[in-house]
């Protein structure tokens, strides 16, 4: 079993093999994401009852919570891919890490945007220096820094390894930043009212959210595969196998 996995892993590290597999998988990820998101959007926006305090306004959490979750998940994913690339010198892992960054930054931005749209009617302002909002903003800065470092280096292999070191340093720092911000916040203005994740959430409200998370993961898979394919094409543009792929 383990041996089979290792063999599969090594085959996946070869760009032509990965490219072919990714081409096959992308539609599966894409269509299942579309179906799951459509079902859960119906469940969340129509079937779930309105919140007794927040009315229909709470429904934005079906986009907000999965985005916030994805923003962290993708960062960790990026750091793991970067570490694999750095340790075993697998170029494809670097391509995955590079492709993760813009997707993760977009999800972070989406989480921030939906958060402040939700905050306007609920808290009365577009922005509060809430611990979660602030650490999400800092996460966005980390993504931007990673992408800026990549684009500052002209040589791809150096950009890969330098940005990998940064991603690993960043992932060590993310929990420290998060807890320092939480601590700063609780001391400065007292716990902010936040109703997300209260145990009182009913099953009709909960399942669309969990489903949305699955849907967002599948969507991330589809986008990631597409981006990595583009990245592989760009990196291997002088390789022979590209000709066969491009012709077919």
């Amino acid at each position: 079993m383990w041996k089979a996995f290792v063999r599969w892993f090594h085959r996946m590290a070869s760009p032509p093999h990965f490219y072919a597999a990714a081409t096959r998988w992308t539609p599966w990820f894409f269509w299942s994401a579309l179906i799951v998101i459509a079902i859960c959007a119906y469940g969340g926006l129509v079937l779930a009852p309105a919140d007794y305090q927040q009315g229909d306004g709470f429904r934005i959490i079906y986009a907000h919570v999965p985005s916030a979750w994805m923003s962290l998940f993708i960062y960790v994913n990026m750091a793991i891919a970067a570490a694999i690339g750095l340790i075993w010198r697998i170029k494809l892992a670097h391509a995955v890490a590079a492709s993760c960054a813009p997707i993760g930054a977009s999800f972070t931005f989406l989480a921030l945007a939906t958060g402040s749209i939700w905050g306007k009617p609920m808290w009365g302002t577009w922005w509060v220096w809430d611990a979660r909002l602030t650490s999400e903003l800092i996460l966005l800065f980390l993504y931007i820094g990673y992408m800026a470092l990549r684009s500052a280096m002209e040589e791809p292999s150096r950009a890969d390894r330098a940005s990998a070191v940064l991603a690993i340093v960043g992932v060590v720092n993310v929990p420290i930043i998060h807890y320092s911000v939480v601590w700063w916040n609780t001391l400065h203005q007292g716990p902010t009212v936040s109703k997300i994740g209260e145990p009182s959430i009913t099953w009709e409200m909960l399942w669309p959210m969990l489903g949305m998370m699955v849907g967002f993961m599948l969507f991330f898979g589809a986008i990631l595969l597409t981006r990595v394919r583009a990245e592989v094409l760009a990196r291997e543009r002088n390789a022979k196998w590209i000709e066969e792929v491009a012709v077919s």
């Binding site: 800026a148 280096m153 150096r158 330098a162 690993i168 930043i177």
Partner: protein
């Protein structure tokens, strides 16, 4: 070739770095002057009201310290990268992380330690109570080396990049936030007459964490920049 131990090697590197720095002694004082100038900007940009300034004092001192330490980072590895010294360090039998640590310590002594010493003057200018001065210096003494260590990783990553100044700040500032939060918090608590030991312990923990990990990351980054 003469075979030297790691302590001798580090001592010689410190000696050599100090010599290089004191050849251009006016440059060495730039971060310090920058620190004072940035602090001076705040009352001018807000108001000379004593109560307001007293509330802002910890934040101003720490933001100015963070900016000044980031500014100073640019010179940390750049000259050695350009003239090939860094290549020699990487080729030497001593571990590169250790040698970089020696460089970072020297850098802190020249650019961080003066901030700790001048900070009381700035804090008094912001009407910070006298009993808060010592905790503030303790926080700065624990925090500024952490800033130099984290910054060294960023400086090592951008050492091979042309015009890396703004990029360096973009990389380093988000990673330095916890240090700044705890440092300002310790000063704040002391100013309110409370016990600042909690954030000070956390600052010490951060210092030891970065002291053990940052040189390794910086060494990895330098090797990448050297290829």
């Amino acid at each position: 070739m003469e075979n030297v131990g790691i302590f001798t090697a580090a001592a010689r590197l410190v000696e050599r770095d100090l010599k290089v720095i004191f050849r251009h002694v006016s440059e060495a004082f730039n971060p310090l002057v920058f620190f004072v100038v940035v602090a001076t900007l705040f009352p001018l940009a807000t108001s000379p009201d004593a109560a307001l300034l007293r509330d802002m004092a910890p934040g101003v001192v720490w933001v100015a310290a963070l900016l000044s330490s980031t500014l100073a980072l640019d010179s940390l590895f750049k000259a050695d990268m350009d003239d090939g010294t860094m290549e020699q360090l990487a080729l030497s039998p001593q571990p590169l992380a250790w040698l970089l640590l020696a460089k970072i310590v020297t850098h802190w002594v020249v650019s961080g330690l003066p901030l700790v010493l001048i900070a009381p003057l700035v804090a008094r200018g912001f009407f910070l109570p006298t009993e808060a001065i010592l905790p503030m210096m303790a926080a700065l003494a624990l925090g500024t080396p952490t800033l130099s260590l984290i910054g060294a990783v960023g400086a090592a990553l951008t050492a091979g990049v042309r015009r890396g100044g703004a990029l360096l700040s973009l990389l380093v500032l988000p990673l330095s936030l916890p240090t700044m939060i705890f440092g300002a918090r310790a000063t704040d608590l002391a100013g309110l007459g409370e016990d600042p030991s909690g954030p000070l312990y956390l600052l010490a923990a951060l210092l030891f964490l970065t002291l053990s990990l940052a040189p390794l990351a910086a060494a990895a980054a330098i090797r990448i920049s050297l290829d």
